[in-house]
Symmetry: C2
DNA sequence: AGTTTCATTTTGAGAACTCAAAATATAGGG
DNA sequence: CCCTATATTTTGAGTTCTCAAAATGAAACT
């Protein structure tokens, strides 16, 4: 009974929703799951009931769902495949970090264990993918890490972009053009809550201003 | 309406059956198709009717099916992906030619055009895959080639293995162990139709005897 | 021509996944 | 406490793909 692509996508969406909630055993509301998977609300309800039947999730009607231990393990494996594939496409095949997500979204469901471990070895067992997302180990472990973002970090301090919390290609291309991709350094000059904006000084000493929503998606580390 | 994996597998099976029949517009019997796809006869009938409806095949009840021009084009693209993937797995990822078929069987349905063209470029636009199977061009063209096999080639003449007409992993491992993989040279010493066998002298000057069925699957070129 | 054999098609059904729209539950505001 | 807005579930239905087994067609054999 190996899981279908559909099941894998539900589990992965759930995993990511739970990580975003910061709370291990929080329940993910049905609507949010349906939205993440890209399916009508009723469809998610039906699917989740089947997943609960298989022991992959715990379902509390009207409250939400949460992954079981088995479900979380499976989800971590999907995420591992997804991120190793992205890293492979960028490092070995020379594709852009802005365009690998869609390919990985499909490939994650069909690459064999053999193949994924070969990729892992070729890449030297990387710990993060091109977007700075951590890659779970083969046992499903993931190093926990608290991030600052351009919205929460100290002002006038050199910081390095370590992770981008959005896969939208046009957003990633924007970051690349503005020298804001993972690995690049910058300082936050000022924040203006009235204008809903954040002013940055990037590597090339160029000053740019971006919205707070965009700023919150750029995760950083203080140098 | 991009074709599903299922449809792609039917078209590919049909394409290969037609090539084997040597006759461009021969009809492939329903039973053979069902068998190739690995499905019950009635299932193939239902599917073929749907494919005919979509204009991908021509279906003659009780006689068989044949690919339409559109169907043949699509099938050639699946085959192109399959073989480029196999070549990539062997040449770039260092996997064995005996084990790449299964992976390619899945990957052929999900790799994007972008990705497949990247592979093609990295490989220097190869014309054959690790089994010696020709790789169709991006337009679906395939260089026609008549092969001799160890069953039909002249005796006591140096020949080179150029293609293997079977994907079974244990058969391929056997060939590898006996120095009969594509690129290796040998001579046919004798044929014994009563014993149903063919006697060979391989590169290492080792003399081995194989059955005629196996011999017919090893395609060669006279040096 | 009649009968057996084999391939093929038809039938009836089920699994997995999906949606739109109706029904219902929950939570908040008055 | 009622009423309303919103989230969730239920219902009825459709798509794609599959099978087993019955029915039928074609071919082959006497
Ligand atoms: Mn996916
Ligand atoms: Mn990523
Ligand atoms: Mn396939
Ligand atoms: Mn091949």
């Amino acid at each position: 009974m190996l899981p279908s692509s559909t099941v894998e996508n539900y589990l992965k969406a759930l995993y990511q929703a739970q990580v975003a909630l910061e709370d291990e055993k929080a329940l993910v509301p049905m609507g949010q799951l349906a939205n993440a998977v890209g399916v009508a609300p009723g469809t998610a309800t039906t699917m989740v009931k089947a997943l609960a039947e298989s022991g992959l999730v715990e379902y509390e009607p009207y409250l939400g769902v949460r992954l079981s231990t088995a479900g979380a393990k499976l989800a971590a494996m999907v995420l591992r495949r997804h991120r190793l594939i992205e890293q492979f496409l960028v490092e070995i095949m020379g594709m852009s970090w802005t365009e690998v997500h869609e390919d990985a979204e499909q490939l994650e469901h069909v690459v064999s264990d053999r193949l994924i471990e070969r990729m892992d070895a070729m890449l030297g067992h990387p710990s993060v993918d091109p977007h700075g997302d951590p890659i779970p180990t083969a046992d499903g472990d993931i190093a926990p890490h608290r991030y600052h973002s351009l919205l929460t970090c100290p002002l006038h301090t050199e910081v390095t972009v370590t992770r981008v919390a959005d896969q939208d290609a046009s957003f990633l291309r924007f970051l690349e053009a503005q020298r804001l991709k993972p690995g690049q350094s910058l300082e936050v000059e000022a924040r203006d809550s009235a204008a809903d904006s954040v002013q940055l000084l990037t590597e090339g000493q160029r000053s740019i201003t971006i919205g707070t929503k965009a700023a919150s998606k750029v995760l950083i580390e203080v140098a």
